[in-house]
C-alpha cells in the first residue's frame, strides 16, 4: 500500500508540474485565438478586448492557472474559444474514439508480437529468425505516414474498405450487426497502420528479452527435467523475460491517447488528433492544454500500471519494495 501511496503522490506532483509547464509554454507561444479577429474590420477592437477579458486572457498567468485548476476541479477543464464549450465535453468524446482505435491496435499488436517474438527467439540464428528480423527491419524503415497513405490508396482503388470517418452516412439506419460491421470496416485502415507501426518494435523487444532468458541455466535445467518446448517458451522463458516487456506495455498504455494523432489526421478518424491539430492551428489554448493533460494522465497511468504489474509479477521487485 505504501508503494501505491508513494506512486500516487508522485503522479499528482507530476500532473501539477506538467500542467504548469504546459500553461507557461502555451503562453510563450506567439499569437493567440483572438489575433485573427483584430484583422477583421467588422469586429471592433473593443469587442476583441471584451472577448479577451471574458476568457481572462488579459489576466496574469498565475491567476489564469489558478482559475484553470478550479475549472478542472469543477470538471470543465477550461473553455474552448472556438466551440464555446467546456473542454472536457469536447475532449472526452474524441478521447473515446481515439481509445477505441488505439486499444484495439495495441491489443492486436501485442497478440501478434508476443508469439512471433518468442518463436523468433527460439529459432535464434536460423533462417526463420533472420527472415523475421528482415521483416521487422523493413517495417521499421517505413514511416506510418507511408503505410497509411498506401492503405488509403488501396482502399480508394479497390473500394474494398471505406475511407475517412468512423462510420458511414447511413450508419443510423443499420441494425446492430450492420453497425458493428460498419465500424469494423472503418477501423481496418487506421488499426492496420498502427499495428504495422508498433509491431517491429514489440517483436524485437520480445525476441531480445526471451533469447537471453532461453540461455539461462534454469531453462537448461527445466529441459533436463523433460519440460516440453512450448512450456519452456511460454511458461518459463516468457514470464522470466517479462520485466522489460511489462515496462514496454506500460509505455504502450501511456501512448494510447498520443500515439495515433498523426494517423487519425491522415485517415480522418474523429479522435483527439484532428481536434488537437485544429486547436493548435487556431490557438484554442485550453483545448490544447486539455488534450496534453489527458495524454500526460495516460502517461502517468501507463507507468503506474507497469510498476504495479512489475511488483505483482516479479518477486525480486516485490522484495525490493517491502
Amino acid at each position: 500500500m505504501k508503494f501505491l501511496e508513494r506512486r500516487l503522490v508522485h503522479a499528482i506532483l507530476l500532473l501539477i508540474g506538467a500542467s504548469a509547464l504546459c500553461f507557461l509554454f502555451s503562453t510563450l507561444a506567439p499569437g493567440g485565438y483572438f489575433d485573427e479577429m483584430k484583422l477583421n474590420p467588422q469586429i471592433s477592437p473593443g469587442t476583441v478586448a471584451a472577448l479577451r477579458s471574458q476568457y481572462e486572457l488579459d489576466r496574469p498567468l498565475p491567476v489564469r492557472y489558478e482559475h484553470w485548476v478550479q475549472s478542472v476541479l469543477r470538471g470543465e477543464w477550461g473553455y474552448s474559444f472556438a466551440y464555446n464549450l467546456p473542454v472536457r465535453s469536447l475532449v472526452v468524446v474524441r478521447a473515446r474514439n481515439t481509445l477505441l482505435l488505439t486499444s484495439l491496435a495495441m491489443a492486436l499488436a501485442w497478440l501478434i508480437a508476443v508469439p512471433l517474438g518468442v518463436w523468433s527467439a527460439s529459432r535464434a540464428g536460423r533462417w526463420e529468425d533472420r527472415l523475421s528480423t528482415a521483416g521487422t527491419s523493413l517495417l521499421l524503415s517505413v514511416p506510418e505516414l507511408v503505410v497509411a497513405l498506401g492503405l488509403l490508396y488501396f482502399a480508394i482503388h479497390t473500394h474494398a474498405l471505406p475511407v475517412g470517418g468512423m462510420v458511414s452516412a447511413d450508419h443510423d439506419t443499420l441494425g446492430p450487426w450492420g453497425r458493428a460491421r460498419d465500424l469494423a470496416a472503418h477501423l481496418v485502415i487506421p488499426v492496420t497502420t498502427l499495428v504495422l507501426a508498433s509491431l517491429p518494435i514489440l517483436i524485437r523487444h520480445v525476441r531480445a528479452s526471451v533469447v537471453e532468458v532461453l540461455q539461462a541455466p534454469f531453462i537448461q535445467a527445466a529441459r533436463g527435467h523433460g519440460v516440453g518446448r512450448t512450456s519452456i517458451r511460454f511458461r518459463y522463458a516468457l514470464p522470466a523475460a517479462a520485466n522489460p516487456l511489462i515496462s514496454l506495455f506500460g509505455l504502450s498504455v501511456a501512448g494510447l491517447l498520443s500515439g495515433s494523432l498523426l494517423v487519425e489526421v491522415i485517415v480522418g478518424w474523429p479522435g483527439l488528433g484532428p481536434l488537437l491539430l485544429e486547436a493548435c492551428l487556431s490557438r484554442d489554448f485550453y483545448v490544447v492544454v486539455g488534450v496534453v493533460m489527458m495524454s500526460t494522465l495516460f502517461m502517468i497511468l501507463g507507468s503506474l500500471l507497469a510498476d504495479v504489474m512489475l511488483v505483482i509479477a516479479d518477486p525480486r521487485v516485490r522484495m525490493d519494495n517491502v
Binding site: A221, G224, G226, A240, R316
Partner: protein, 284 residues
Amino acid sequence: MGSEAAAKRALGPALMKAHRLNKRYIQRTPFSRKKFVIDALVDVEIDIAPGCISALVGESSSGKSTLASCLAMSEKADSGEIWFEGQEITGWNDRQFAPLRPRIQLVFQDSAGALNPRFSAAQVIEEPLEVQNRESGAKLRRRACEVMEEVGLSADWADRSPLEFSGGQRQRLAIGRAITLKPALLILDESLSGLDLSTQAQILNLLLDLKSTHALTYLLISHDLSLVGQIADFVGVMHHGRLVEFGPMQQVLGSPQHDETRKLLASAGGVESAYRAAQAGGRA
C-alpha cells in the same frame, strides 16, 4: 574414493561412455564473411564408471562444460558416439531421450540463475516430479519437503523464494531438485565454485552422503584441482577440446603424463601439495 573398490567397479561396464566425440562451433562476424571455428571437443573418449566420482579439470574454454552438455544431451555432438546404461543414445531426438532424461541430471555453478526466480523453494523441487508425472497434489508437496530436509533445508522454508536463500542454500536446493527424479548420473558443472570454503565443504559432504544413499555416479567439472583431489576416483584433464589425460586420480595426479596436467598441478599450489591432497582424499 580413489580406492581399489572404485578401480574394480571401473572394470565393469561403464555407466556412460563417449567415443570419438566432436563438437565444433562456428561463429560469424557481422558484416563480414569471416568465420571463426572453435573446436570445443576433439575426439573425446571417456568412460564414466558407475558409483564413482569422475572429474574433469582444465582451464577455461577447454571444453569441460561442452562435454557435460553433450553427455547430458543438452547439446548435440557433431560426431561420435554416446552410450548410457548400455544403449547408444547418439542422435536421439527429444522424444526418444525423454524416458532417459531423469537418469542424467545437471547441477550448475550459478545457483541463482539455475532456479526459476518465479518459483518457491518447494515448487523448484516439485517441478521435475510434476513434469514426469511422478507425484501430484498433497503427495507432491510432502515429497518436496522430504527432499528439502534431505539436502539440509528446513521444510518450513518451502514457500520462500530461492532468492531469499544464501548461495550454499540455493546450491542445496539445486541438488535436491536434481535428485528428486532418482538419477543415475549427476553432472556437477562447477557446482562448488564460487562458494566459500566452509560452504564448499558442507556441500561436498552432502554430495558424498547422497552418493551413498542414492547410489549416484558423479561427473564433477571443476577448475580446482585440490578440490578434485579430495573426492574424485577418476580424473580427466581437458585442453583445447581434447581429453589429454584420463585415469585413476592418484595415477593422473601422482605421475602426470601431459604438460597441461603438470601446469594445472603447479597452479594448484605445486605438484607435491596437490598429490598430498589426492592421497589424503584416497585415504578418507
